[in-house]
Symmetry: C2
Protein backbone atom coordinates (compact mmCIF):
# COMPACT_ATOMS: atom_id res chain seq x y z
CA UNK A 1 0.00 0.00 0.00
CA UNK A 2 3.03 2.26 -0.30
CA UNK A 3 2.92 4.60 -3.29
CA UNK A 4 6.69 4.94 -3.25
CA UNK A 5 7.03 1.52 -4.87
CA UNK A 6 5.88 3.13 -8.09
CA UNK A 7 8.90 5.39 -8.18
CA UNK A 8 11.70 3.26 -6.78
CA UNK A 9 12.41 1.42 -10.00
CA UNK A 10 13.14 4.67 -11.77
CA UNK A 11 15.13 6.29 -9.01
CA UNK A 12 18.49 4.78 -9.97
CA UNK A 13 18.59 6.88 -13.12
CA UNK A 14 17.80 10.15 -11.34
CA UNK A 15 20.30 12.87 -10.52
CA UNK A 16 21.38 12.90 -6.85
CA UNK A 17 19.36 16.01 -5.87
CA UNK A 18 16.27 14.42 -7.38
CA UNK A 19 16.81 11.20 -5.42
CA UNK A 20 17.35 13.14 -2.21
CA UNK A 21 14.17 15.12 -2.95
CA UNK A 22 12.33 11.79 -3.18
CA UNK A 23 13.81 10.69 0.14
CA UNK A 24 12.81 13.91 1.89
CA UNK A 25 9.39 13.44 0.33
CA UNK A 26 9.24 9.93 1.79
CA UNK A 27 10.34 11.31 5.15
CA UNK A 28 7.37 13.71 5.08
CA UNK A 29 5.01 10.85 4.26
CA UNK A 30 6.49 8.41 6.80
CA UNK A 31 6.53 10.97 9.61
CA UNK A 32 3.00 12.02 8.64
CA UNK A 33 4.02 15.67 8.43
CA UNK A 34 1.17 17.84 7.23
CA UNK A 35 0.31 21.48 6.62
CA UNK A 36 2.45 23.89 8.65
CA UNK A 37 4.63 21.13 10.10
CA UNK A 38 8.26 22.19 10.20
CA UNK A 39 10.89 20.19 8.38
CA UNK A 40 14.21 19.31 10.10
CA UNK A 41 16.90 21.97 9.49
CA UNK A 42 19.34 21.75 6.57
CA UNK A 43 21.99 20.55 8.97
CA UNK A 44 19.76 17.81 10.40
CA UNK A 45 18.81 16.70 6.88
CA UNK A 46 22.51 16.51 5.96
CA UNK A 47 22.98 14.13 8.92
CA UNK A 48 19.85 12.06 8.27
CA UNK A 49 20.46 11.68 4.53
CA UNK A 50 24.25 11.62 4.67
CA UNK A 51 24.72 14.18 1.87
CA UNK A 52 26.26 17.65 1.57
CA UNK A 53 24.59 20.98 2.10
CA UNK A 54 24.35 21.89 -1.58
CA UNK A 55 22.53 18.63 -2.36
CA UNK A 56 20.06 19.21 0.48
CA UNK A 57 19.45 22.73 -0.81
CA UNK A 58 18.93 21.51 -4.38
CA UNK A 59 16.51 18.86 -3.13
CA UNK A 60 14.56 21.39 -1.06
CA UNK A 61 14.27 23.68 -4.10
CA UNK A 62 12.84 20.80 -6.13
CA UNK A 63 10.22 20.18 -3.44
CA UNK A 64 9.40 23.90 -3.24
CA UNK A 65 8.94 23.96 -7.03
CA UNK A 66 6.53 21.03 -6.64
CA UNK A 67 4.61 22.80 -3.91
CA UNK A 68 5.43 20.12 -1.34
CA UNK A 69 7.36 22.59 0.83
CA UNK A 70 7.43 26.32 1.39
CA UNK A 71 10.26 28.36 2.79
CA UNK A 72 9.33 31.05 5.31
CA UNK A 73 12.15 33.52 5.64
CA UNK A 74 13.79 33.38 9.02
CA UNK A 75 11.42 30.68 10.21
CA UNK A 76 12.39 27.54 8.32
CA UNK A 77 10.94 25.11 5.82
CA UNK A 78 7.34 23.94 6.22
CA UNK A 79 4.99 21.47 4.56
CA UNK A 80 2.59 23.24 2.14
CA UNK A 81 -1.17 23.38 2.52
CA UNK A 82 -1.95 20.89 -0.25
CA UNK A 83 1.42 19.20 -0.66
CA UNK A 84 2.27 18.16 -4.20
CA UNK A 85 -0.70 19.87 -5.78
CA UNK A 86 0.34 22.66 -8.11
CA UNK A 87 -1.80 25.46 -9.41
CA UNK A 88 -2.51 23.89 -12.78
CA UNK A 89 -2.19 20.13 -12.22
CA UNK A 90 -3.88 19.13 -15.48
CA UNK A 91 -1.71 21.43 -17.58
CA UNK A 92 -4.56 23.55 -18.94
CA UNK A 93 -2.18 26.45 -19.60
CA UNK A 94 -0.46 24.36 -22.27
CA UNK A 95 -3.61 23.61 -24.22
CA UNK A 96 -3.65 25.90 -27.25
CA UNK A 97 -7.35 26.15 -28.02
CA UNK A 98 -8.94 27.80 -24.98
CA UNK A 99 -12.45 27.76 -26.41
CA UNK A 100 -12.17 24.02 -26.91
CA UNK A 101 -10.80 23.66 -23.37
CA UNK A 102 -13.73 25.65 -21.94
CA UNK A 103 -16.14 23.38 -23.76
CA UNK A 104 -14.44 20.15 -22.69
CA UNK A 105 -14.05 21.31 -19.12
CA UNK A 106 -17.74 22.13 -18.96
CA UNK A 107 -18.56 18.63 -20.21
CA UNK A 108 -16.55 17.17 -17.32
CA UNK A 109 -18.02 19.58 -14.75
CA UNK A 110 -21.55 18.62 -15.86
CA UNK A 111 -20.72 15.02 -15.07
CA UNK A 112 -18.96 15.56 -11.75
CA UNK A 113 -20.47 18.57 -9.99
CA UNK A 114 -24.18 17.65 -9.88
CA UNK A 115 -23.14 14.26 -8.52
CA UNK A 116 -20.86 15.94 -5.97
CA UNK A 117 -23.78 18.11 -4.80
CA UNK A 118 -26.01 15.06 -4.40
CA UNK A 119 -23.36 13.34 -2.25
CA UNK A 120 -22.98 16.57 -0.26
CA UNK A 121 -26.73 16.59 0.44
CA UNK A 122 -26.48 13.03 1.76
CA UNK A 123 -23.35 13.45 3.87
CA UNK A 124 -23.06 17.03 5.11
CA UNK A 125 -22.83 17.39 8.89
CA UNK A 126 -24.53 20.22 10.77
CA UNK A 127 -21.27 22.16 10.93
CA UNK A 128 -20.65 21.59 7.18
CA UNK A 129 -24.07 23.12 6.49
CA UNK A 130 -23.37 26.16 8.67
CA UNK A 131 -20.08 26.68 6.82
CA UNK A 132 -21.78 26.32 3.43
CA UNK A 133 -24.46 28.85 4.35
CA UNK A 134 -21.71 31.25 5.41
CA UNK A 135 -19.98 31.04 2.02
CA UNK A 136 -23.32 31.27 0.25
CA UNK A 137 -24.15 34.50 2.10
CA UNK A 138 -20.78 35.92 1.06
CA UNK A 139 -21.36 35.11 -2.61
CA UNK A 140 -24.78 36.74 -2.51
CA UNK A 141 -23.33 39.99 -1.12
CA UNK A 142 -23.60 42.20 -4.20
CA UNK A 143 -21.28 44.86 -2.82
CA UNK A 144 -18.20 42.65 -3.02
CA UNK A 145 -15.43 43.54 -5.45
CA UNK A 146 -15.03 41.22 -8.42
CA UNK A 147 -11.93 39.56 -6.94
CA UNK A 148 -13.56 38.94 -3.56
CA UNK A 149 -16.73 37.73 -5.25
CA UNK A 150 -14.73 35.19 -7.23
CA UNK A 151 -12.87 34.08 -4.11
CA UNK A 152 -16.17 33.56 -2.27
CA UNK A 153 -17.59 31.70 -5.26
CA UNK A 154 -14.64 29.28 -5.35
CA UNK A 155 -14.79 28.79 -1.57
CA UNK A 156 -18.48 27.94 -1.90
CA UNK A 157 -17.78 25.26 -4.53
CA UNK A 158 -14.85 23.86 -2.51
CA UNK A 159 -17.13 23.69 0.51
CA UNK A 160 -19.69 21.58 -1.41
CA UNK A 161 -16.85 19.16 -2.23
CA UNK A 162 -15.82 19.15 1.43
CA UNK A 163 -19.39 18.14 2.41
CA UNK A 164 -18.93 14.83 0.54
CA UNK A 165 -16.12 13.83 2.96
CA UNK A 166 -14.31 12.29 -0.02
CA UNK A 167 -10.75 13.64 -0.21
CA UNK A 168 -10.38 12.77 -3.88
CA UNK A 169 -13.42 14.91 -4.71
CA UNK A 170 -12.02 17.67 -2.46
CA UNK A 171 -8.73 17.72 -4.37
CA UNK A 172 -10.34 17.33 -7.79
CA UNK A 173 -12.98 20.04 -7.47
CA UNK A 174 -10.66 23.08 -7.34
CA UNK A 175 -8.90 21.85 -10.48
CA UNK A 176 -12.04 21.75 -12.59
CA UNK A 177 -13.82 24.75 -11.06
CA UNK A 178 -10.96 27.23 -10.59
CA UNK A 179 -9.76 27.02 -14.17
CA UNK A 180 -13.23 27.91 -15.38
CA UNK A 181 -13.12 31.29 -13.68
CA UNK A 182 -10.83 32.32 -16.50
CA UNK A 183 -13.69 32.06 -18.95
CA UNK A 184 -16.19 33.91 -16.81
CA UNK A 185 -13.75 36.79 -16.48
CA UNK A 186 -15.57 39.26 -18.70
CA UNK A 187 -19.06 37.98 -18.15
CA UNK A 188 -18.89 38.10 -14.35
CA UNK A 189 -21.02 41.22 -13.83
CA UNK A 190 -23.86 40.18 -16.09
CA UNK A 191 -24.26 36.76 -14.48
CA UNK A 192 -23.89 37.92 -10.92
CA UNK A 193 -27.59 38.09 -10.10
CA UNK A 194 -28.24 34.70 -11.69
CA UNK A 195 -25.30 33.28 -9.73
CA UNK A 196 -26.74 34.59 -6.52
CA UNK A 197 -30.05 32.83 -7.06
CA UNK A 198 -28.54 29.52 -8.13
CA UNK A 199 -26.08 29.44 -5.22
CA UNK A 200 -28.94 29.94 -2.81
CA UNK A 201 -30.84 27.07 -4.44
CA UNK A 202 -27.84 24.75 -4.20
CA UNK A 203 -27.26 25.69 -0.57
CA UNK A 204 -30.93 25.23 0.36
CA UNK A 205 -31.11 21.83 -1.32
CA UNK A 206 -28.00 20.53 0.43
CA UNK A 207 -29.18 21.82 3.82
CA UNK A 208 -32.57 20.17 3.22
CA UNK A 209 -30.68 16.92 2.45
CA UNK A 210 -32.51 16.81 -0.89
CA UNK A 211 -29.92 15.22 -3.17
CA UNK A 212 -32.14 15.32 -6.27
CA UNK A 213 -32.81 19.04 -5.88
CA UNK A 214 -29.10 19.68 -5.23
CA UNK A 215 -28.21 17.85 -8.42
CA UNK A 216 -30.77 19.82 -10.45
CA UNK A 217 -29.69 23.16 -8.97
CA UNK A 218 -26.01 22.58 -9.84
CA UNK A 219 -26.95 21.44 -13.34
CA UNK A 220 -29.03 24.59 -13.86
CA UNK A 221 -26.16 26.70 -12.53
CA UNK A 222 -23.69 25.13 -14.96
CA UNK A 223 -26.14 25.41 -17.86
CA UNK A 224 -26.50 29.12 -17.16
CA UNK A 225 -22.69 29.46 -17.07
CA UNK A 226 -22.33 27.66 -20.35
CA UNK A 227 -25.03 29.66 -22.11
CA UNK A 228 -23.35 32.78 -20.89
CA UNK A 229 -19.89 32.10 -22.23
CA UNK A 230 -21.21 30.60 -25.44
CA UNK A 231 -23.06 33.87 -26.03
CA UNK A 232 -19.84 35.75 -25.25
CA UNK A 233 -17.86 33.65 -27.70
CA UNK A 234 -20.20 34.42 -30.60
CA UNK B 1 -8.69 33.86 -22.22
CA UNK B 2 -5.10 33.86 -20.97
CA UNK B 3 -4.50 31.67 -17.94
CA UNK B 4 -1.43 33.70 -17.01
CA UNK B 5 -3.65 36.46 -15.62
CA UNK B 6 -4.36 34.17 -12.69
CA UNK B 7 -0.76 34.22 -11.63
CA UNK B 8 0.43 37.74 -12.45
CA UNK B 9 -1.00 39.35 -9.35
CA UNK B 10 1.09 37.07 -7.18
CA UNK B 11 4.29 37.28 -9.20
CA UNK B 12 5.61 40.47 -7.58
CA UNK B 13 6.21 38.62 -4.34
CA UNK B 14 8.07 35.75 -5.98
CA UNK B 15 11.82 35.25 -5.94
CA UNK B 16 13.57 36.19 -9.21
CA UNK B 17 14.20 32.61 -10.39
CA UNK B 18 10.52 31.83 -9.83
CA UNK B 19 9.46 34.87 -11.85
CA UNK B 20 11.84 33.95 -14.66
CA UNK B 21 10.49 30.39 -14.57
CA UNK B 22 7.00 31.85 -15.08
CA UNK B 23 8.27 33.91 -18.02
CA UNK B 24 9.91 30.91 -19.68
CA UNK B 25 6.67 29.05 -19.06
CA UNK B 26 4.76 31.84 -20.81
CA UNK B 27 7.29 31.71 -23.67
CA UNK B 28 6.49 28.01 -24.12
CA UNK B 29 2.77 28.74 -24.17
CA UNK B 30 3.03 31.78 -26.47
CA UNK B 31 5.31 30.03 -28.94
CA UNK B 32 3.08 26.96 -28.80
CA UNK B 33 6.01 24.70 -28.01
CA UNK B 34 4.89 21.14 -27.36
CA UNK B 35 6.33 17.71 -26.66
CA UNK B 36 9.92 17.30 -27.88
CA UNK B 37 10.22 20.94 -28.99
CA UNK B 38 13.62 22.33 -28.10
CA UNK B 39 13.93 25.36 -25.87
CA UNK B 40 16.33 28.22 -26.78
CA UNK B 41 19.82 27.72 -25.28
CA UNK B 42 20.76 29.13 -21.87
CA UNK B 43 22.64 31.90 -23.66
CA UNK B 44 19.65 32.82 -25.82
CA UNK B 45 17.37 32.80 -22.76
CA UNK B 46 19.82 35.15 -20.97
CA UNK B 47 19.44 37.55 -23.92
CA UNK B 48 15.66 37.22 -24.25
CA UNK B 49 14.94 37.56 -20.53
CA UNK B 50 17.81 39.94 -19.71
CA UNK B 51 19.03 37.97 -16.69
CA UNK B 52 22.23 36.18 -15.71
CA UNK B 53 23.16 32.59 -16.34
CA UNK B 54 22.61 31.39 -12.77
CA UNK B 55 19.06 32.78 -12.76
CA UNK B 56 18.27 31.07 -16.06
CA UNK B 57 19.63 27.81 -14.65
CA UNK B 58 17.61 28.14 -11.44
CA UNK B 59 14.48 28.85 -13.49
CA UNK B 60 15.07 25.84 -15.74
CA UNK B 61 15.51 23.62 -12.68
CA UNK B 62 12.16 24.82 -11.32
CA UNK B 63 10.49 23.93 -14.62
CA UNK B 64 12.20 20.52 -14.70
CA UNK B 65 10.95 19.87 -11.15
CA UNK B 66 7.43 20.74 -12.37
CA UNK B 67 7.76 18.40 -15.32
CA UNK B 68 7.38 21.23 -17.84
CA UNK B 69 10.87 20.66 -19.24
CA UNK B 70 13.34 17.82 -19.44
CA UNK B 71 17.07 18.06 -19.92
CA UNK B 72 18.62 15.60 -22.34
CA UNK B 73 22.34 15.40 -21.74
CA UNK B 74 24.35 16.81 -24.63
CA UNK B 75 21.19 17.58 -26.59
CA UNK B 76 19.54 20.48 -24.80
CA UNK B 77 16.33 21.29 -22.96
CA UNK B 78 13.03 20.04 -24.33
CA UNK B 79 9.34 20.40 -23.52
CA UNK B 80 8.01 17.34 -21.64
CA UNK B 81 5.37 14.96 -22.91
CA UNK B 82 2.57 16.22 -20.66
CA UNK B 83 3.98 19.57 -19.57
CA UNK B 84 3.10 20.59 -16.05
CA UNK B 85 1.51 17.29 -15.11
CA UNK B 86 3.43 15.52 -12.38
CA UNK B 87 3.19 11.89 -11.42
CA UNK B 88 0.87 12.42 -8.46
CA UNK B 89 -1.05 15.62 -9.24
CA UNK B 90 -3.73 15.09 -6.62
CA UNK B 91 -1.22 14.43 -3.84
CA UNK B 92 -2.39 10.89 -3.07
CA UNK B 93 1.00 10.02 -1.59
CA UNK B 94 0.36 12.49 1.23
CA UNK B 95 -2.93 10.96 2.27
CA UNK B 96 -2.33 8.88 5.38
CA UNK B 97 -5.15 6.35 5.24
CA UNK B 98 -4.59 4.35 2.04
CA UNK B 99 -7.62 2.12 2.55
CA UNK B 100 -9.82 5.18 2.77
CA UNK B 101 -8.11 6.62 -0.32
CA UNK B 102 -8.77 3.40 -2.26
CA UNK B 103 -12.42 3.54 -1.28
CA UNK B 104 -12.84 7.22 -2.18
CA UNK B 105 -10.95 6.86 -5.43
CA UNK B 106 -13.20 3.97 -6.43
CA UNK B 107 -16.25 6.11 -5.73
CA UNK B 108 -14.92 8.74 -8.14
CA UNK B 109 -13.91 6.18 -10.77
CA UNK B 110 -17.43 4.68 -10.67
CA UNK B 111 -18.82 8.08 -11.53
CA UNK B 112 -16.34 9.02 -14.26
CA UNK B 113 -15.21 5.88 -16.06
CA UNK B 114 -18.54 4.33 -17.16
CA UNK B 115 -19.48 7.77 -18.52
CA UNK B 116 -16.10 8.05 -20.27
CA UNK B 117 -16.69 4.68 -21.94
CA UNK B 118 -20.13 5.75 -23.13
CA UNK B 119 -18.66 8.91 -24.71
CA UNK B 120 -15.92 6.77 -26.24
CA UNK B 121 -18.55 4.53 -27.86
CA UNK B 122 -20.21 7.60 -29.37
CA UNK B 123 -17.07 9.36 -30.60
CA UNK B 124 -14.35 6.81 -31.40
CA UNK B 125 -13.03 7.00 -34.96
CA UNK B 126 -12.13 3.89 -36.96
CA UNK B 127 -8.45 4.37 -36.13
CA UNK B 128 -9.26 4.86 -32.42
CA UNK B 129 -11.07 1.53 -32.48
CA UNK B 130 -8.15 -0.23 -34.14
CA UNK B 131 -5.82 1.18 -31.50
CA UNK B 132 -8.16 0.13 -28.69
CA UNK B 133 -8.40 -3.42 -30.02
CA UNK B 134 -4.61 -3.53 -30.16
CA UNK B 135 -4.27 -2.61 -26.48
CA UNK B 136 -7.08 -4.99 -25.58
CA UNK B 137 -5.28 -7.88 -27.30
CA UNK B 138 -2.14 -7.03 -25.35
CA UNK B 139 -3.97 -7.08 -22.01
CA UNK B 140 -5.52 -10.44 -22.82
CA UNK B 141 -2.11 -11.99 -23.51
CA UNK B 142 -1.74 -14.17 -20.43
CA UNK B 143 1.97 -14.74 -20.98
CA UNK B 144 2.89 -11.14 -20.21
CA UNK B 145 4.93 -10.37 -17.11
CA UNK B 146 3.09 -8.55 -14.33
CA UNK B 147 4.78 -5.22 -15.14
CA UNK B 148 4.00 -5.42 -18.85
CA UNK B 149 0.46 -6.55 -18.11
CA UNK B 150 -0.07 -3.51 -15.93
CA UNK B 151 1.42 -1.22 -18.56
CA UNK B 152 -0.93 -2.65 -21.20
CA UNK B 153 -3.86 -2.32 -18.81
CA UNK B 154 -3.14 1.38 -18.20
CA UNK B 155 -2.62 2.01 -21.92
CA UNK B 156 -6.01 0.40 -22.59
CA UNK B 157 -7.74 2.72 -20.10
CA UNK B 158 -5.90 5.77 -21.45
CA UNK B 159 -6.99 4.78 -24.95
CA UNK B 160 -10.66 4.73 -23.89
CA UNK B 161 -10.20 8.30 -22.61
CA UNK B 162 -8.53 9.24 -25.89
CA UNK B 163 -11.59 7.94 -27.80
CA UNK B 164 -13.73 10.68 -26.17
CA UNK B 165 -11.61 13.39 -27.88
CA UNK B 166 -11.93 15.44 -24.70
CA UNK B 167 -8.46 16.54 -23.53
CA UNK B 168 -9.63 17.12 -19.96
CA UNK B 169 -10.82 13.52 -19.73
CA UNK B 170 -7.53 12.39 -21.32
CA UNK B 171 -5.50 14.20 -18.65
CA UNK B 172 -7.79 13.23 -15.79
CA UNK B 173 -8.04 9.49 -16.52
CA UNK B 174 -4.42 8.54 -15.81
CA UNK B 175 -4.62 10.31 -12.44
CA UNK B 176 -7.55 8.28 -11.20
CA UNK B 177 -6.70 4.96 -12.86
CA UNK B 178 -2.91 4.79 -12.42
CA UNK B 179 -3.02 5.39 -8.67
CA UNK B 180 -5.37 2.46 -8.30
CA UNK B 181 -2.79 0.02 -9.63
CA UNK B 182 -1.13 0.35 -6.26
CA UNK B 183 -4.03 -1.41 -4.62
CA UNK B 184 -4.29 -4.20 -7.15
CA UNK B 185 -0.62 -4.96 -6.64
CA UNK B 186 -1.01 -8.21 -4.73
CA UNK B 187 -4.29 -9.28 -6.23
CA UNK B 188 -3.17 -8.93 -9.86
CA UNK B 189 -2.77 -12.65 -10.61
CA UNK B 190 -6.11 -13.75 -9.21
CA UNK B 191 -8.08 -11.16 -11.17
CA UNK B 192 -6.23 -11.56 -14.42
CA UNK B 193 -8.71 -13.85 -16.11
CA UNK B 194 -11.67 -11.72 -15.01
CA UNK B 195 -9.83 -8.63 -16.28
CA UNK B 196 -9.33 -10.27 -19.65
CA UNK B 197 -13.02 -10.95 -20.10
CA UNK B 198 -14.17 -7.51 -18.95
CA UNK B 199 -11.63 -5.70 -21.14
CA UNK B 200 -12.89 -7.62 -24.13
CA UNK B 201 -16.48 -6.67 -23.28
CA UNK B 202 -15.57 -2.99 -22.98
CA UNK B 203 -13.65 -3.05 -26.25
CA UNK B 204 -16.47 -4.85 -28.10
CA UNK B 205 -19.10 -2.42 -26.80
CA UNK B 206 -17.10 0.66 -27.84
CA UNK B 207 -16.37 -0.79 -31.28
CA UNK B 208 -20.09 -1.61 -31.69
CA UNK B 209 -20.84 2.04 -30.76
CA UNK B 210 -23.09 0.71 -27.99
CA UNK B 211 -22.69 3.33 -25.28
CA UNK B 212 -25.05 1.63 -22.83
CA UNK B 213 -23.19 -1.66 -23.05
CA UNK B 214 -19.85 0.16 -22.72
CA UNK B 215 -21.07 1.86 -19.56
CA UNK B 216 -22.31 -1.43 -18.08
CA UNK B 217 -19.09 -3.27 -18.95
CA UNK B 218 -16.90 -0.66 -17.25
CA UNK B 219 -19.14 -0.63 -14.19
CA UNK B 220 -18.92 -4.42 -13.93
CA UNK B 221 -15.14 -4.23 -14.34
CA UNK B 222 -14.85 -1.68 -11.50
CA UNK B 223 -17.23 -3.67 -9.29
CA UNK B 224 -15.05 -6.75 -9.74
CA UNK B 225 -11.97 -4.67 -8.88
CA UNK B 226 -13.60 -3.33 -5.76
CA UNK B 227 -14.84 -6.71 -4.56
CA UNK B 228 -11.37 -8.03 -5.07
CA UNK B 229 -9.52 -5.52 -2.96
CA UNK B 230 -12.22 -5.42 -0.32
CA UNK B 231 -11.76 -9.16 0.06
CA UNK B 232 -7.99 -8.62 0.26
CA UNK B 233 -8.41 -5.96 2.95
CA UNK B 234 -10.39 -8.27 5.23
Amino acid sequence: MDLSVLYDAKSYHMPLAERIAERINQLIIDQKLTENDKLPTEFELMEILDVGRSTVREALKILVARNVLEIRRGKGTFVSKNPGINKDPLGFAYMQDKMRLAHELMEVRMQIEPWTASLAAQRATESDMAELCGYCAKVTDMDLSEALHREADLAFHDCIAHCTHNQVICNLTPIITHAVTVFSDISERSVRIKTRISHQQICDAICARDSQAAQRAVLAHLEANRENWEKMAR
